[in-house]
Symmetry: C2
Subunit: 410 residues, 2 copies
Amino acid sequence: MAKINENFLKLQAGYLFPEITRRVRKYQQNNKSTRIISLGIGDVTQPLAPAVVDAMKIALDDMTKENTFRGYGPEQGYDFLIKEIIENDFEPRGVKLDKSEVFVSDGAKCDIANIQEIFSTDNVIAVTDPVYPVYVDTNVMAGRAGNVKQNGQYENILYMPCTAENNFLPQLPDADVDIIYLCFPNNPTGTVASKQTLKKWVEFAKRKKAVIFFDAAYEAFISEPEIPHSIYEIPDAKNVAVEFRSYSKTAGFTGIRCAYAVIPKQLKAYTKDGKTVDVNHLWNRRHSTKFNGVSYISQRGAQAVYSSEGKKQILGIINLYMSNARLIRNKLSELGYRVHGGTNAPYVWVKTPDDTDSWDFFDLLLKKANVICTPGAGFGPSGQGYFRLSAFAKPKNVKEAIQRIAELQI
Amino acid sequence: MAKINENFLKLQAGYLFPEITRRVRKYQQNNKSTRIISLGIGDVTQPLAPAVVDAMKIALDDMTKENTFRGYGPEQGYDFLIKEIIENDFEPRGVKLDKSEVFVSDGAKCDIANIQEIFSTDNVIAVTDPVYPVYVDTNVMAGRAGNVKQNGQYENILYMPCTAENNFLPQLPDADVDIIYLCFPNNPTGTVASKQTLKKWVEFAKRKKAVIFFDAAYEAFISEPEIPHSIYEIPDAKNVAVEFRSYSKTAGFTGIRCAYAVIPKQLKAYTKDGKTVDVNHLWNRRHSTKFNGVSYISQRGAQAVYSSEGKKQILGIINLYMSNARLIRNKLSELGYRVHGGTNAPYVWVKTPDDTDSWDFFDLLLKKANVICTPGAGFGPSGQGYFRLSAFAKPKNVKEAIQRIAELQI
């Protein structure tokens, strides 16, 4: 008798974005002529950079000729891309990496969902609250969580509240934890971590022999020069941290699929009886057994992100999104909203007026302003009374959405 | 303390293809001017079909304009592709599917590696011997296997020998099994299953309440009209089977990455206390949580596989590979080798002369003929004394390789 993995039955049905889709669809059905503007899901809207497109055209052309055709590439990614990653994303920030420490993949969501597989199911994981749901759900599936509680959190997972009181920066846990998920610039709050903050976490992880999963998917949006882009800018971080990067938001690759993970050679984890094991080696075995490499065309596109033309064009697109973020921040501040993030991140995290419930405010914004936000409570109990606005929409839509919110006169 | 998944330590170091690469590299280093021909790893060599390239060009162009740009697609794949899959791959064979039963992915290897996750770790799995190593290794990682035995097989996994004596068709197990991996046309033996054979398996699975993972990655190479292309051509198969398909070999997509899995709505598995659970629902949750869709450009390419031009061009490419297979079969038969497969599959499975050890014969072929094969023993103990030749090489290389083998005079 084929038995299912019963951990899946613990998962909550209402995953955040499908629930948003359901509510929007229902409203649109009853209001067919209404033009709804989405500042909800964090998906890019600007076309690919021309340098990227040109590189992908050449790659596609390679596939039409016998002598340049590419079949299976290395599961870990082509050297031509890994070389650019190391030389552009890390070396200028004083971080040296070997090419065997970089694993190209089809998405940071996939990597961060899969990485837990190479660790024992009896590790205690710590996540922030609010949190990107994938960190939690993949651990529930693997069996690291107990049942779901009234507030939507799971037993056996350590949640670290991030609120206005602590500037949305989690405090070091008192309890023993083995694996810590950190995301800076943060989704959903838009908070960044200083070197000092990250140093505190690296030291904590060393002390606990814990591993940090550092999600840096939004690093390209950091504007303040003193903010670190990589956790490896902190001494000793290579001993305790895996870092996840993505071209999805950086270069508009959400429909193209390319990302990478860094697993330093010196990162160790442990057997139950305390022997050290090389995490890079385990991930390499996992990656090459269960994955078959990223599209050659996507990898050539990613390579062009690092060309001088590519860099210039992509910076232009990022600046466009960040001017959206600035507009959202400034206008909502003027309107009297308490506003966070949006300076080093494409997300603005806003307090609902009069502590309105997040989903109630979502409904109000949908029905009165025809604007979609993401209700903060969807990211966890500490997100209650907040909503997230994404800066990835088209500028004219952002302007109109903000105008509509201004007219709400709450 | 971050503890590793110790199941990974049970995995054998010498995965088949890296070991081949190692031996070839070493030989080439000492024989720099030698031109080695590979009939080893099953990777395509022919350029993409022009209709596929044209569709991908248009898709790439879509990504350059604001109003046609595509960000995140549905994790399950675009409807435009799923529609073609259902109407072309299944309906003509009498199989009706709902679009929610098809999950587009970036590779059949990934799907077949990941599918076991939604099942309990205490299921007993059955695989053939010889076997595609991914089926076994992913179950070892998940904890469904004991330690490795002298012969390279793992404790707690049921191996079903496929030998010349049973025409390389596994017999129904006597023991209770919960999950059965079947691959037809088979990699590595090139064997196909008749409707009668598959019917026997479907009935067995029904009786045992087991689930069949049916790997049909090579179905496009079936030439004999009476051989089923899908397990769903068998009545009731939807109640017991998941099917995996791929564009990798069919349409030369090994570097493009697109595949799909079919999980019928009526397929049920069970909780420990015997309640039925909808497998499609579990997979959908897994797929949408851990995966973020396939490249839009790759999906447009896959869609073009079903255009009338695409079909014609792809058939031409498949015929080219199959004429390679025919040449290998016929010439090796003439030379006195005992030859199997190669009629409905791009692989020819050959007995080594005088029962020579597979790896010894691999070395002999490499050193004396400068031809790479895949040693049968790499697929399991029943593959000992066999070697696999792939028909995916360029025709002139196949001709030369066969000529060199002929000159061996073993």
